[in-house]
Structures are given as C-alpha cells and as structure tokens.
C-alpha cells in the first residue's frame, strides 16, 4: 500500500498552514528578527561590510552560549509535554557544579568519579521530586519550587557559602574540536567545544525519543489526557516519574559542562537557568497544560532566545534593555500562536454566518 486511498471525504477539515505546523509561527518571527538585525547592521555600516550577526564566528559563539540551557531545555520539553514543570533546574545545576568541584578539588575522588557523583545526585534528587509529583495530586510547580529552595540550601551547606575553585581539571570539555579553523568572512578563530556537539546529539536523541518511540507516545498521551491514558493501559505514574529522571540526567550533564567553562563551582552558576529553559520551551510552542510541543520547536526557541542577547550586543544596546526585550519576545512569541488561531476562528465564524445567511435567503425564496 504505497498510496492509501482516502474514503468518503464529506467532511473537509481545513486548517491554516500555521495551525498545522505550529512551529511556523515562531519560526517566522525568528526569521524576521534575524532579517531586521541584519538590515540594521547593513544600514549602520553603510552596507559596506558583511553583517557580523550571521557570520560563522558569531553563530558558533551563539551556539556556545545556548548549548547548556539547550541541553536542559530538551528534558524540560519532555517534562512539560507530560504536563509537568520543573523550577528547580537552576539551583540543581548550581548544586551539581559544587558537588563535582568539591569532589575534584577537596574530596580527591578523581575527575570521572566526581562527575558521576554529581550527575547521580541530580538524578536522585529529580527522582525524589518526580516520585512525589507522580504519586500525589500536588502541583509540580509547588514541589519543584520547594526543590529549588532546598537544593540552594544543600549547595550552600556543602560549599560553606563559598565558591569552590578548580584547577582546570575539566578543560577537556572545553577544548576546540575544530582546531585551526578560521571564519572565511572575518578571519577570526572558530571554536566548537564538545558541549556544543553534545547539545546537538542530545537534541537528536530527544527528538527521536519523543516522535518515534512508544515511550514518547506515552508522554504525549499522559500530557494530553491522563485519565484516557490510564484507561488505555498506560502507566501514567511511572511515565510522569521517568521524565523527571531524564531531567535529572540532563541537568547533571549540563551543569558539568557549565562548570568546565567557569572552572568554579558556585551557587550563582545555574541562576536563572530555569527561567531561560522554560522560556525557550514555551517559545517553541510547548503548552504548560501538556500534550503539545516538540523538540524542533524547542530548538527554535533555544536559538531565538540565545540570539537576542547576542544581537543586542552587536547593535550596541545597553544590557538593561536586553532583559526588557527578552521578556517582550517571550510574550509576543507565545501570544502569536493564540492570536493567529483566534483570527482564523473569527474568520471561520464569519464564513459560517455568511453561509447561514445565504441558506436563510434561499429558504425564504423557495418557501411558500
């Protein structure tokens, strides 16, 4: 059966392109954003120079900035598709960085075991939260808020409220994989560290997992309609638990990458990570109510949010403005989908009205 026939199409469901491919809305906003930045740059340089914003060195730069939040955003997508949320990832990342740094520089565990301990503790802590969330009816928002505060406490206790400095033991994670490569436009050195590659690999695995596996289907089912999922034989509680375990793994990995860049385990390391990742996921079209969203959307969200700060630096806007702009972008990107669907609904209503009116008119003519 190469071409399945379509039987009896009395009901034609028309959907706008933007509704069918939900990511298109955000993607088009993103593309127009890029175009605007490029145009502004061209105008300000009089069109004589290549716009730095889309130069390879700058794009690689952006990738380095977004890789770690991007990794966490992948698992955050899974959590949110299942109908949950996780506010604790930022503090958990700080905690992991402190544990790994302590393991290397004070407990003398060695690099490998220290990283393992750090990642394992992230998984254990997320599992604990996931256990409470999946076994009770308490909102994940509250549980992970509590988690965030407690993780901060644990991190401060472990580090005696001080930073833990390392001697570059994790530098292998920041080495340049494309040693000697240069930007053909600007001639600057290109840097592609392992964590950028890791981000893409994880995104690929996450995307395949969500779309092409039974497990992914179950996450969507649980997020869309938990009761129907339960009655269809899905172990709703364990699906909910498992997404938090994956979240733990990826926060652990991401935090290690961050630590490698900074070389210091510190409480502020993961600060704001939860805000950034949730914003990325939401910009990508994932609904807080669950069941909706995908990795492609999240990737768009990651690059979008990541390039804003960068673009504003290039446009020489003050950093204070950047917060405002970031916030507005989140609001606009998220409302765009709803506004477009409201417009199409309104148009549909108009069509219905016109149809009803003409039907009424013909009925009157045909009647006695």
């Amino acid at each position: 059966m190469s071409k399945p026939e379509v039987p009896n199409t009395t009901l034609q469901v028309k959907e706008s392109l933007f509704k069918r491919y939900e990511n298109l809305t955000v993607l088009s906003i993103f593309v127009s954003f890029v175009v605007i930045v490029v145009v502004v740059q061209l105008i300000s340089t009089g069109g004589s120079r290549f716009p730095t914003f889309i130069s390879p060195v700058n794009i690689v730069n952006i990738l380095q900035q977004v890789a770690v939040p991007g990794i966490v955003a992948i698992s955050m997508t899974m959590v949110m598709v299942s109908g949950g949320i996780d506010l604790s990832v930022g503090m958990l990342a700080s905690l992991v960085s402190i544990i790994v740094a302590l393991g290397i520089s004070q407990w003398r565990l060695g690099v490998g075991p220290s990283v393992l301990v750090g990642v394992a503790s992230a998984i254990v802590l997320e599992t604990a939260m996931g256990f409470i969330i999946s076994r009770t009816r308490i909102e994940p928002f509250i549980i992970t808020l509590g988690g965030m505060i407690s993780f901060q406490g644990i991190a401060l206790l472990l580090s005696n409220s001080r930073e833990v400095v390392m001697k570059g033991e994790l530098n292998f994670l920041t080495m340049n994989l494309v040693e000697g490569a240069r930007d053909p436009v600007t001639g600057l050195i290109l840097r592609v560290p392992p964590y950028v590659v890791a981000f893409f690999v994880i995104a690929l695995i996450g995307g395949l997992l969500l779309t092409y596996t039974k497990y992914g289907r179950r996450i969507y089912a649980v997020g869309t309609n938990p009761r129907a999922a339960f009655l269809a034989g899905i172990d709703v509680r364990n699906v909910r638990l498992s997404v938090y375990m994956i979240q733990g793994l990826l926060v652990g990995v991401g935090a290690t990458m961050l630590l490698a860049r900074i070389n210091t385990g510190i409480i502020t390391l993961g600060q704001g990570l939860e805000i950034d990742t949730i914003a990325m996921v939401v910009i990508g079209g994932t609904a807080l109510s669950g069941g909706k969203g995908n990795i492609v959307g999240t990737l768009i969200g990651v690059f979008f949010l990541g390039s804003i700060a960068n673009a504003m630096n290039l446009l020489r806007l003050p950093s204070e403005v950047q917060f405002l702009a970031k916030g507005l972008v989140v609001i606009i990107a998220v409302s765009a989908g709803d506004v477009s669907s409201q417009i199409s609904e309104f148009r549909g209503l108009r069509r219905e009205q016109a149809k009803a009116r003409s039907a009424a008119a013909t009925a009157k003519k045909g009647g006695p």
Binding site: P4, V6, T213, G233
Partner: protein, 494 residues
C-alpha cells in the same frame, strides 16, 4: 391556593433535537409538584429553562405571579426561583454561613456584617430543625447535610419556588428522610416546590401533583391522592417497540466472563455471567452504579471484594493495563474526557491502547497511519485521512475512533458505556451494526445504557441496576420498558 408559576406551551429545540414540545405546567403556593420521566424525557431541560440557564423557543410563555417574564439566571433568582442541582455547588473551604451568603453578603459601608449573617443562618437552620451549626465547614458535612445547606440558602434568599433536581440521589435512607421532612416544612411555609426524583415512593410521600414527561412531551398530570405507581410507570413508558432498531440475533457461545460477588466503590455484591455472542445490557437510572461497576471490572477502580474470571481463569486487574492484556475493551461513557486524545490525530488515537500488547519500542508514524487508514475505512469514519485531528470530528465519528482504538487491541470482551450518547441517528445505527458484527466474530458485549430503546433492541439479557446492586435480570420477552422501569424505580431498598 394561588398560582406562583405557570409555563404555557413551552418548547425547546436544540440543533437537530426537539428536547421539549408544547409543555404546560403550573405550580401553586405550598405544593410539591413532582416531575416524572425516564432518563432523557426532558426534565433537566425544563429545569434549565426555569432557572434561566437556557431560553425556550419563542412561541411559549412563562408567568411568574401572573406576569409574563423572560428568565435569565439573575432574573430567576430575583423572582425567587431557586434551583438546587443534583451536583453540589458549594465552596468546600468555607463554613455554612459563608456558603449561604456567598454572592449575597450582607454589608454595611462595604464591611461584612458577620454577626447578622450568622444570626440569620442560625435562624434558618433551627427553622429546618437541623442540628447543623453556622460555623461548620462544608468539607466536614455529608452530601445529605450539604443539601440541607443549599435548601437553607434558598430560604434565606426569600425564594418562592424551590426546584430540587434529584435531591436524594446516592443518599442513605436516613438522609433521605431528613431531606423529605425539610421539604414538608418548606412547603407548609407557602413555598412551591418542584421535585424531581427517580424514586417513586418519595414522589408518593411528599408530592401533591405529578406531571409525567416522555420524549420531551407532557403525557399526563395527576393529583397524587388516589394515584398508583402502575399508572405512573405506564405513562412514563409506552413507546411503540416496533419503531426500535431491529438487530440480528447471534447464537450464544460459551461463558467468557464470570463475575462473582464483586464489590467496589458504589457497587455492592454483583454477580453475573457473560457469554460469547451476546449483549448483556445494564439498565437503571443514571447514577445507579453501572459505570462504577464497569470501572471496577476494567481495573480503573479498585476491586474491594469478589472474583472476576475470564475464560474460566481467575484474574485480578490491578490497572487497565492488565485488563487490556486480558482482551477487555472499555468504550467509556464520555469519549471526550476519558476516551480520546482530542488534539491528536486519528492514527495516534487508534495506536495508543494497543501499545500494551506490542513489544517493539520504536513506533513508526507511517505504520500507525496505515493502521489508522484501515480503521477509517473499516468503520466508515468521515475524515479526509487518518492524519485528521480527532477534535475536528463530529460526535459519531469520534465514537468510531474510540471503537477503532479498541478494535486495534484485538479485544474479545467489549464494555460499551452509553454507546450512542450524543451522536446522530445515522452513526448510531452504524455503531449498532458494528456491535452485531463483533458478536458474529464470537466476541461478547457488556452494554450500559440509559437509552431505553437501545437497551431493549440491543440486549439479549438485561440486568437492572439500582443503588449499586442488581435489582433483577430480564431476558427474552420480559425485556420491556415497563419491567425495566418497575425494577429500577420501584420500591426503595434499605
């Protein structure tokens, strides 16, 4: 006695359905006027019109105290018409006083007059001879006590008409007596009460008059004095059976499901057997515990006591997962909330339940699409393709997607809970045909239905449920509306 409320020639048309047709009805001060009728006779629609929740068609009129009025929820309340629905609408975290005055607080200069509100609550509670106190929290009350609070609220807001929709459903018999006594007190105070109940003995205990509705029409109106239950039931039934759907009969095979002394939430001591090739119908009033029984059988709610055997082998369903593995299927009553993943495509919906039975981890969307298309064709689902989102389908087609989801699991025991609820006549017949086809394939069907013609035309045997228990079993010629109704609303059980 003077009249407070009159409906004259009221009709209500929903798209495609005539819910009420030419209903006239009146209510006098100090009387209890009962509304009787089967599920779907139009009682709820009538109440909604009286409470202003929906507007009747233009040709009828409503009079309150002799004046023609248009009722909206707020004008109905202002004219003293207070409706108490079957489901409690209460603020659980607040106490009785706060509930009674919710939305109508007594305030002076913007400040709440707590003492005054408490005093009035105390008065009304003692007037109702209730042992409740104004400061008790709603969460601590039984559903019978909550009903009393709602009646108290109606009294405090100086109602002339109180409408009680199934006030005693799922109450213990002591609570029922309390509520009935309160209705008597209210009535003696000159308030008119419209009382709806499935329990005929309540109607006979407190009613002054009874109006019988059937299929949206008024059949008769009697004074209760001198009336017999048989007369009432005769009026409530009386459809012509020759108009019912005619189903092909299939030869009955061996026993496939045995249920022994099963108890669970809302279900007490239920035993029956189901054979291959038969439809076992479950009749009874809405809320009699039939759906709860099906949940227990399917593992969706815990089995408290009893035994379930499939093909002679005892099984324990800890969750729907094991029920599906034992080849059971559950087409739930509410397809939108418990059956479907509305924003997802037909293909994804069809694939979801069978994931229990397959081993492979990888899901190929292309493969699902093929299976989806197969069911679109097989069940004649009217959609452009299996990629269509279920939310865009009509009720009948959504129901077919639910069927596809379960057929895909290769199940043998099908539970249909209200198989044709809210779907058009054409799809209804298609679904009946699909059910008969299942029987021909030697499968078995448990069917819960509140639609009398459906129960009678589709069932080989009928079990009538009442208050979580089996009230009786009918087969063959005994399956008539009258017998079913007599079993399900006859005498109150202790």
């Amino acid at each position: 006695m003077d009249e407070i409320l009159r409906l004259s020639h009221i009709s209500k048309t929903f798209p495609g359905v005539r819910a009420l047709q030419d209903i006239s009805f009146d209510l006098k001060r100090g009387e209890v006027h009962c509304l009787c009728g089967e599920n779907g006779a139009g009682k709820s629609t009538l109440i909604k019109i009286l409470s202003g929740a929906i507007q009747p068609d233009e040709d009828g009129q409503i009079f309150v105290d002799g004046n023609a009025v248009t009722l909206t929820p707020s004008t109905a309340l202002r004219m003293g018409i207070h409706t108490i629905y079957q489901e409690h609408i209460v603020f659980n975290a607040l106490n009785i006083t706060e509930n009674i005055f919710a939305g109508a607080e007594i305030a002076r200069h913007g400040l709440l007059q707590r003492k005054e509100m408490r005093r009035q609550t105390e008065n009304v509670l003692s007037y109702l001879k209730s042992d409740l106190t104004p400061d008790m929290r709603m969460t601590d009350l039984t559903s019978g006590q909550q009903k009393i609070v709602e009646i108290a609220k109606a009294l405090v807001s100086k109602s002339n008409v109180i409408i009680l929709d199934e006030p005693t459903a799922s109450f213990s018999s002591r609570e029922i007596d309390t509520v009935l006594n309160i209705v008597k007190t209210v009535k003696s105070d000159g308030i008119g009460v419209i009382y709806i109940s499935h329990h005929l003995d309540e109607v006979f205990e407190i009613g002054d008059r009874a109006t019988v509705l059937r299929d949206g029409r008024k059949v008769s109106m009697y004074p209760i004095a001198g009336l017999t239950k048989t007369t009432l039931i005769k009026d409530m039934v009386g459809r012509d059976p020759s108009t019912f759907y005619k189903r092909e009969r299939v030869e009955r095979g061996e026993t496939v499901l045995q249920v022994k002394n099963v108890s669970g939430k809302g279900v007490r001591d239920v035993s029956f057997e189901l054979h291959r090739g038969e439809v076992l119908g479950f009749a009874g009033m809405v809320g009699s515990g039939r759906s709860e029984l099906m949940e227990v059988l399917f593992g969706g709610a815990p089995l408290v006591y009893g035994e379930i055997a499939i093909n002679g082998r005892s099984v324990r369903h800890a969750s729907p997962r094991s029920a599906i593995q034992n080849k059971m299927c559950f087409i739930t009553e509410s397809r939108q909330t418990t059956g479907l993943f509305l924003p997802k495509t037909i293909a994804e919906n069809v694939a979801v339940a069978n994931m229990v039975n397959t081993r492979q981890f990888i899901m190929r969307p292309a493969n699902d699409l093929l299976i989806g298309e197969k069911f679109v064709k097989l069940l004649n689902i009217k959609a452009p393709s299996a990629r269509t989102r279920v939310v865009n389908l009509s009720g009948g087609n959504q129901q077919k997607v639910v069927l596809g989801k379960w057929f895909n699991t290769g199940g043998e025991i099908y539970i249909f809970d209200e198989p044709s609820l809210g779907i058009d006549v054409g799809s209804k017949q298609e679904i009946y045909k699909v059910m008969v086809d299942l029987l021909k394939e030697d499968k078995a069907i448990l069917m819960v239905s509140s639609d009398m013609p459906e129960v009678i035309s589709m069932s080989d045997r009928v079990i009538v449920f009442k208050q979580g228990q089996i009230a009786g079993e009918l087969s063959g010629e005994e399956i008539t509306e009258e017998n079913i109704l007599t079993l399900s609303i006859g005498d109150r059980q202790e």
